[in-house]
Amino acid sequence: MTKWEYAPAPEATEIVSVKDTYGNYIGGEFVEPNSNEYFKTINPATEEVLSAVPVADESDVDKAVSAARKAFGTWSSMAPGDRAKFVYRIARVIQERAREMAVLETMNGGKPIKESRDIDIPLAAAHFFYYAGWADKLEYAFPGRRAEPLGVAAQVIPWNFPMLMLAWKIAPAIATGNTVVLKPAETTPLTALMFAEICEQVGLPPGVVNIINGAGATGAALVKHPDVDKVAFTGSTEVGKMIQRELAGTHKKLTLELGGKAANVIFEDAPLDQAVEGIVNGIFFNQGQVCCAGSRLLVQESVAEHLLDKLKRRLATLRLGDPLDKNTDIGAINSRAQLDKIKRLVGVGVEEGAELFQPACDIPERGFWFPPTIFTGVSQSHRIAQEEIFGPVLSVMTFRTEDEAVEKANNTPYGLSAGIWTEKGSRILWMADRLRAGVVWANTFNRFDPASPFGGFKESGFGREGGRHGLEAYVKLVAP
């Protein structure tokens, strides 16, 4: 051997038991759908069918909302300290079953096991721990006012972080005394169904958490349901706008966490080797299927060439392949539809005249894959600089001064996140004041913590998840 090749190191899958068929989880039980319809859910890395999951129609949605309404009375009047115990117990069981959950997340979603194992699942548990802590301390979160739960929350989550988005939605909702009906994305229902088992395991009162399945029509029926008091949606800007139109004039409270086209801004004095890691983590984490991905690289002209040389060399070391392999850096794209969208937009980039770079890498025959991709010579007026690709595709642009960096970074319909890389503290603060983005990372990227609020400006949505701010979306504040 002259080259050191790492032998395959796949995580064992025996720990996971996936049923052939699932029901919707309503009122504490897995029930067959009134619709009698099921859809298959697959492993995007192999296209192998994992299970059949029910489609909830309007009557199933109604049943779930009724179960949540019925549970609301006792759940919301329970002593907050007791509610906290349930939320805490959920967090503990997620930790106990973390490996099983991580393997299932990777099988169903295609993300590398090292991410589901080290990031998604630990963070999901951390969110439940964090909000368990708030459950009996709401008077400190909102001094001088009393925080009352809203009622039934309808929650629709995306496929890129199935379990983590579930945690972001369910933890603050139930900690504050609401009950929920959650619909996972149609391509990634399995960890949510495992979560339903965890609700049973911890003895959560029936109806506090209900999980229904289906695609857009199910989601639409859920958010439209008249007995829903709160809608929380994470997903595309297009669907977010439809929901907002639908809810206009109703009593329903709404939070939206939508798309992004984040700028990752590298100044000439940045620690370049760590900036390269930050760029890689910003755009290739979860194959770039991240709403806050650093998909636009803005690099100061004086170091652009040097930095891109380093970045290209680093790309060649990324390991694409079996997501269950512990050494895999780039996993599978979540679905054929998403892969087609990425291919289409990359085609547009080439047509627009941007220069494409992809490292040599073997693409597996089955499954949905896209190699890490960099476009250089990109202008603001290119579509790949404006539209969210939601894939492992980075558009590189240069700037000369701080003012130009801010102008270009803000020149987007979105405003979810941004990154600043510089050794100069005052420049970080100056930039952070001017960037119109909900999260601004300094000398790092894609770092998350339950105590830190997350959310967007402009077409990236409104409302915050995480932190004390995340409680506000699930309470109405009244006089004490």
Partner: protein, 307 residues
């Protein structure tokens, strides 16, 4: 002093410059340490780690007898198993170079001597250079020098540059490894800076630690030094080696260093010419892990010789 050339001048270190973000460097090193190395790739790494080993004894109590025993271990780490290669070098104090050279005669194992007022470097430069000359005269193939951390921390980069370049000069073609003693430098920025100065001054290898202070070598330190080596090669075309030393006792740790070198500098650095691990007790754990790979069981530690 050697005439500074374009490649070898302090200005080169200035030009390469750069800073290191501590949080980012540590996160990257931690991420690389989760690589899962199994089966054939593990066997290959274990064997490579033996070949890259500088078997070291740097104690006040070292005697010619002790060094002769260690030399035997260096040549035949596993006496009963001819498939196990020799280590790269035996690393000793200057007074013991002769004994080591005699004991290793006819083998591939090099004699490395620490010199230049190891471990503190706090002696006049002419005495330090003389120590190098004496070690070379006694037969040392390689010299491990230390930089003057006191001078470096006081901002006297010129002095560090000069002591390294003159050491390389008096070593007269012998391989010179420059110990930065990273545990005394206080920041990754300074570790990078010291790496660049030593390389600009012509050292053949940069080395983390003397093993005499804590912390000794760490994974992020090795990463930062490897990145400096890569930048230096990009700028000059010169490939400088890396040696990690101090506190590396387990095969697991050794493999983590190999992963960092592999993914930062590439396969070309996975050779004893460009990568060394300085250690006194690592070899036996490597041997034990090799047997574990072959048989599936851990053997009795007494099956591995202690010299």
């Amino acid at each position: 002093m050697t005439t500074p050339t374009k490649e070898h001048s302090l200005g080169l270190a200035d030009r390469l410059g750069g800073s290191v973000d501590a949080v980012g460097a540590e996160a990257r090193a931690a991420a690389l340490s989760t690589r899962s190395i199994k089966k054939d790739s593990k066997m290959w790494a274990l064997e490579l780690a033996i070949r890259c080993c500088d078997l070291t004894s740097l104690e006040g109590q070292d005697s010619p007898g002790k060094i002769r025993q260690l030399a035997s271990k260096a040549m035949r780490p596993a006496p009963g198993n001819p498939e196990i290669p020799s280590v790269a070098a035996l690393c000793v104090y200057p007074r013991l170079v002769k004994a080591a050279k005699e004991a290793l005669a006819g083998s591939t194992v090099k004699v490395a001597s620490v010199a230049a007022a190891f471990p503190s470097g706090q002696s006049p430069l002419d005495l330090r250079l003389e120590e190098i000359e004496r070690a070379i005269a006694d037969g040392a193939d390689e010299i491990d020098i230390v930089i003057s951390r006191g001078a470096f921390l006081a901002g006297d980069d010129e002095m560090v540059f000069e002591e390294v370049s003159r050491s390389v000069e008096v070593a007269g073609g012998a391989h010179v490894k420059t110990i930065l003693e990273t545990g005394e430098l206080g920041s990754y920025d300074r570790i990078r800076r010291a790496s660049l100065i030593a390389m600009a001054a012509g050292t053949h290898t940069i080395k983390t630690s003397t093993g005499k202070i804590s912390p000794a070598s760490t994974l992020p330190t090795a990463l930062v030094m490897a990145e400096a080596i890569r930048d230096f090669q990009d700028a000059t075309g010169t490939a400088v080696g890396l040696k990690v030393a101090g506190g590396i006792r387990s095969a697991k740790d050794a493999i983590r260093y190999l992963v960092i070198v592999h993914e930062t500098l590439g396969d070309e650095w996975l050779t004893p010419d460009r990568f060394r691990i300085g250690a006194s007790s690592l070899v036996n754990d490597l041997l034990m892990q090799i047997d574990k790979q072959k048989t599936g069981f851990y053997s009795d530690p007494d099956r591995y010789t202690l010299d």
